[in-house]
Symmetry: C2
Subunit: 144 residues, 2 copies
Amino acid sequence: MLSMPRRVALPTNQPDDAEDPANQHGPDALARLRRELARGTAELAVLSVLTSGRRYGYELLKLLERTGAGVLEVKEGTLYPLLHRLEDAGQIAATWEVEGRARPRKYYDITPAGRAHLAVLRAEWTELVNAMHRLLDALDKVEK
Amino acid sequence: MLSMPRRVALPTNQPDDAEDPANQHGPDALARLRRELARGTAELAVLSVLTSGRRYGYELLKLLERTGAGVLEVKEGTLYPLLHRLEDAGQIAATWEVEGRARPRKYYDITPAGRAHLAVLRAEWTELVNAMHRLLDALDKVEK
DNA sequence: GCACATACCTTGTTACGCAAGGTATGCGGT
DNA sequence: ACCGCATACCTTGCGTAACAAGGTATGTGC
């Protein structure tokens, strides 16, 4: 314990309370915060949307952007690699459609494997939400 | 469109449905899935716990490990850097306590700035959960 | 002495999400 | 014809949080 302070109950970092709350919630900080919170939910969101029917990539982009005030929004750099990953894993199937269209589109369908995976994801998400709910709303009930 | 398939509505990846569901949910895959889903929630969880009273690092580790069947578990490599980040940001205060103990412990208290930040985090988390809830339970009601 | 628990620290790796860049075509206006 | 914008898809480098794994140190029981 050579590097340990010898003084008793001395705060190691005095926060400046009057300034930090204001500076921390500008547009950039809020965007980062949202990003981090929503991280990991893209897969669940995409598979969920696909259960109600096939969609092409750009359509998924637009749809997720509009869902829930944008909290589920993902960017192309996220969505397309994710779609490719899901396809490689056999959870979705992709088909190019060219006939009867002015331009081709790549449609995605969820597979039975994808539906099975989604069921697991849903269960895990529910657990997470319930656990967090317990923390946020009933902290004194958490066992020690 | 030189690289575009010329055939119509041809699946680009034929999944093997009988095998994928079984192989994807072994212990490692489930652990990865949980990790990704919970990603970004550590900060919310830690600040929430601290609102009901000061705690030292190891205690937080154990407590989160036990909460909700382990879905909120974080490892040291995650927790301590997070605690340091929160301290640097003025959201928590850290104090070493050595007197009257067999060994020193580093206690963490949430600051007023931390409480303000937590309120924002909670609001964003609630939005995310509601949005996802809408996707999962009422897909046909999502606007096109 | 040793093994394990308690308590904290740190770094390199992993993996996802974003920014930014790219390709291509269609459409409307000039 | 050109241009700007929309539609549609692709990809890579960067940033960041989480983990694995390594480390320090002390206390306890055998």
